[in-house]
């Protein structure tokens, strides 16, 4: 078992996180006049006929769906907890979080495990994981729908729009 460093492995995303960090650093560096070169890396996934994304640097790993253990007295969107190499992590149903009806997971369902402090390590159940995209800064727009409060911007990738989730808002919403 890979238990020697539980919590640090991110096998499914490899070096993306590192790339993303350097990109983020470039974004933050003062006086960067080369805006057209700035790109963001997003993990794109499918949910209820639409396409969503979260910044790659927030992703720790992606695991196959496994049956979560139900937690009593929990709100609906908390599906339960799963054991993950010695850790126990909550899994949130992203469908319910975004106000859709829950659906039973299919073969393409995945759990995206987020990085963070103890209360930010969270699994998000999504319908399918599609790709990691590098999208230049100029392709981002403010969100136009805005029902859930968790989507703050959108970006265009090839022929479709992708809703970018603000993870902190999403989990903040979950806190309510």
């Amino acid at each position: 078992m890979s238990g020697a460093h539980p919590g640090h492995g991110a096998p499914d995303v490899g070096g993306w996180a590192g790339l993303a960090r350097s990109a983020a650093a470039a974004l933050e560096s003062p006086g960067g006049g080369i805006e057209e070169c700035l790109v963001r890396e997003l993990l794109v996934f499918g949910l209820d006929d639409s396409t969503y994304a979260i910044p790659v640097e927030r992703v720790r790993e992606i695991v196959r769906m496994r049956a979560p253990t139900r937690v009593p007295r929990a709100p609906d969107r908390l599906l339960g907890v799963i054991a993950l190499r010695g850790e126990v992590v909550e899994v949130i149903d992203l469908r319910r979080s975004l106000g859709f009806a829950g659906a039973s997971p299919g073969p393409k369902s995945r759990i995206i495990v987020l990085h963070g402090d103890v209360d930010r390590v969270t699994g998000l159940l999504v319908d399918s994981v599609e790709a990691v995209l590098r999208i230049s800064e100029e392709s981002f727009w403010p969100a136009v729908s805005g029902d859930s409060g968790s989507v703050v911007e959108m970006c265009r990738s090839e022929d479709r729009f992708v809703s970018v989730l603000d993870v902190d808002r999403l989990l903040g919403v979950a806190d309510d």
């Binding site: 238990g3 253990t69 907890v81 010695g86 126990v88 949130i92 402090d117 969270t122 979950a174």
Partner: protein, 740 residues
């Protein structure tokens, strides 16, 4: 402290800058030393008051504490602390060498010196450097020490002249040993020389054994190697022993250690036994004159001496090396000894509790793997074709199980620390409060050796300090009030700890004004916590003190004598899986009882099933389990109860508490009788699935604070299962009864 830091923000916290980490490390270590030292100092004070005889080991221990503190402060460039410690060390050195009599005013200053050191540490801990004021107060104090030290010491009359010991032997004694020799003579003990030879490769063990045997009957004043005579491969020692035991009996005791016992008489006194004559030089082979190079050898043996005394405390407080043998390392004089003191520090290891947590996690994962092996072995055994392999795997599983248990016990043991640390901290708080509030309160401790997981001990301090502070602030009356009430003017605060099974019970009781049941009740009714016409037992009323709405009310604390912030105390203890209870009698006093699990790291859990779900119940909260038929279950006020050997037991269905779908109703079920402190609750479940060692893991995610769950653990093929927070479940059930 390290442990507290580790419990929160494990991932996110930025490493603090070097300077503050240094400071933090210094304070942590210095505090440990100082705590030990203040504890020893109050012991010393007690012994001094009681009979004027003081245990030399104790003095040595305090001396070494002061010495370590000096060295430590020196390393961090904290001159004020270093100087102060240095002067305290001087007093103690004088005391242990008999240069300063026990009655000297300088000895009176020791405790105050410890307090001053504590104050300086506080300042450093809270980020401020030593202020000019601190420096001035240290200087003033040092002057007081100097003045006290100058007080004329009584001239030592030399008893050494009278004993029939070879002069060269006497010359080889260190000043300390000489002092101990005089002390032994003063107490009228006999002197005996024990000679023994040991093989050069293992003389350390042999000598250590002999020394410990001799210690049973007296004090080993000095151990000197005797050169010459013995064959090359052997090394000969002479041990000078002060004892009250007759030489013949001593001979019997050292039998089997190949040692000769020689009586050392006083000059002109007949030798009372048939042993070789008192003139040591004739029988003991060559003259016993320890040469200069023999000294280091003795240092060595002293340090290597048996580890019988290294207890948990020693492990905890590396610098305060409690090992009695080690404290006799001679002549730890001011400047030559800093290297030596560093060496003695390195005998023990300070471990960040996070590392222990990691180890514990690994052990926990091994336990899970072991369980999986066990399951597999059972499966294979059940099948005829694979039964043989199954049986063999079963054997391996058993062997693995044994070793794992040992490993687990070992890792757990390292985490266990005696409550003494906490008590010493409380004693300090009490001393401060005594000063600040001008109340005369005696503090009594018992059960300081009771051990608890370090992590629990760390988190226990705040609630306990809170309880003690409450007792001081509100419960114990002023001396005048106490006299009017017909009580001794001096109040008493008792803090006792004891182990009961897998729990440790800590009781804090005072003989203060106690709480008035009607006052609490009235307040609770006013706050809407209970209905005006509700019947509550005395105990239930008392426990209202832990409710948030009530315990924060100042007016209650004034009339009731206890209770500010008790809701926080309860919450903190619940986090540790503990419970708190309170009994009080108006005018007589209050007792707060805390019940805690010994460790949180690995627990035995009872796995129960309800519907399709499984839960783990910490076994230390389970009193018994039994099967019940539906007709055995009675009802009272709409709630289910069970007749448990003539006593009513409140029942709750776990399926209902946790809203579990398809939990069975009606058929036979199992009752798990839970107990926490004084409270009992029967929990109805569908199945008992067995016991298992479990590592409780925190649940990660935004909802982790859900009530009723303390964490999760892995259970074989079933993935994660949740661990029930028994104190919350009991608390909820009982509160609902109150609210009903």
């Amino acid at each position: 402290m390290a442990a507290r830091r580790s419990s929160k923000g494990r991932d996110g916290a930025q490493p603090p800058e070097q300077a503050s980490r240094d400071r933090h490390e210094f304070v942590a270590e210095a505090e440990e030393i100082l705590e030990r030292m203040t504890g020893d100092l109050s012991l010393l004070d007690e012994q001094r008051r009681e009979g004027g005889e003081v245990d030399p080991d104790l003095v040595n221990r305090v001396f070494r504490s002061a010495h370590s503190l000096k060295g430590l402060a020196g390393m961090f460039g904290l001159d004020a602390i270093s100087q102060l410690a240095h002067h305290l060390e001087d007093i103690l050195d004088g005391l242990r060498l008999g240069r300063i009599p026990l009655e000297s005013p300088a000895v009176d200053l020791l405790e105050a010196g410890g307090g001053l050191l504590g104050g300086l540490l506080d300042h450093i801990e809270h980020g401020s450097d030593t202020t000019e004021e601190d420096v001035l107060s240290v200087q003033a104090f040092i002057e007081r020490i100097d003045a006290a030290m100058r007080a004329p010491a009584e001239p030592a009359r030399d008893a050494l002249e009278e004993i029939a010991l070879d002069a060269s032997f006497l010359r080889a004694l260190t000043e300390y040993e000489e002092h101990r020799l005089r002390e032994n003579l003063r107490r009228g003990r006999h002197l005996v020389l024990v000679h023994a030879s040991f093989g050069i490769d293992h003389f350390e063990e042999g000598l250590a054994e002999l020394t410990s045997v001799l210690r049973e009957s007296g004090e080993v004043v000095s151990t000197l190697p005797t050169p010459g005579a013995s064959p090359e491969s052997e090394i000969r020692f002479s041990l000078l022993v002060g004892t009250e035991v007759e030489a013949d009996r001593l001979r019997g005791q050292v039998e089997g250690h190949a040692a000769e016992v020689e009586w050392v008489g006083r000059r002109g006194e007949p030798v009372p036994d048939t042993a070789p004559a008192a003139e040591t030089s004739s029988d003991a082979g060559p003259p016993i004159g320890a040469s200069a190079q023999a000294r280091p050898l003795e240092d060595h043996t002293a340090r290597e001496a048996p580890a019988a005394h290294t207890d948990h405390t020693a492990r905890e407080a590396p610098a305060a090396h409690t090992d009695h043998t080690a404290t006799e390392v001679p002549a730890a004089h001011a400047d030559s000894s800093s290297i030596e003191s560093l060496r003695s520090i390195s005998d023990t290891v300070r471990v960040d509790i996070r590392k222990l947590d990691e180890l514990m996690n690994l052990v926990g994962e091994l336990v899970i793997q072991r369980n999986a092996v066990g399951t597999l072995a059972n499966r294979l055994s059940a099948n005829l074709q694979t039964a043989r392999v199954g049986a063999e795997l079963g054997k391996i599983h058993k062997a693995l199980d044994r070793k794992l248990k040992e490993l687990q016990a070992g890792v757990l043991d390292v985490r266990m620390v005696p409550l003494r640390q906490v008590f010493e901290k409380l004693a300090r708080v009490v001393r401060r409060l005594r000063r600040d509030l001008g109340k005369d309160v005696a503090l009594e401790f018992s059960g300081a050796d009771t051990e608890l997981d370090k992590l629990i001990v760390e988190q226990l301090i705040d609630p306990l300090v809170h309880i003690v502070r409450n007792a001081f602030d509100h419960a114990i009356e002023s001396p005048e009030e106490r006299v009017v009430a017909g009580k001794p003017s001096r109040g008493t605060l008792r803090i006792g700890a004891s182990q009961r099974g897998n729990h440790v019970v800590i009781e804090v009781s005072d003989d203060g004004r106690g709480m008035r049941v009607d006052a609490i009740r009235a307040r609770a009714v006013a706050r809407g916590l209970v209905g005006a016409d509700e019947t509550l037992t005395r105990k239930e009323v008392m426990n209202l003190v832990f409710e948030a709405g009530l315990s924060t009310a100042e007016s209650v604390s004034e009339t009731s004598g206890r209770g500010v912030g008790m809701d926080v105390v309860r919450a903190n203890l619940a986090e540790l899986g503990g419970m708190v209870d309170l009994v009080s009698e108006a005018g007589r006093g209050t007792t707060v009882t805390i019940t805690l699990p010994i460790t949180l790291a690995i627990i035995q859990a009872l796995i129960v099933g309800v519907g399709d779900e499984r839960f783990a119940l910490p076994l230390n909260a389970v009193l018994e389990t039994m099967r019940v038929d539906p007709e055995q279950i009675g009802r009272s006020e709409g709630r289910e109860i069970l007749d448990l050997r003539g006593e009513p037991l409140a029942l709750r269905r776990l399926g209902e508490e946790f809203e579990i779908p398809c939990a069975s109703r009606g058929e036979a079920q199992f009752v798990v009788v839970l107990g926490m402190g004084e409270q009992r609750l029967g929990l109805l479940v569908d199945r008992l699935e067995g016991q298992q060692d479990t590592v409780i893991k925190p649940i990660k995610g935004p909802y982790q604070q859900l009530r009723g769950i303390t964490g999760a653990t892995e259970y074989g093929d079933h993935g994660a299962i949740l661990v029930v927070d028994v104190s919350a479940v009991i608390g909820d059930a009982l509160r609902r009864r109150e609210a009903a």
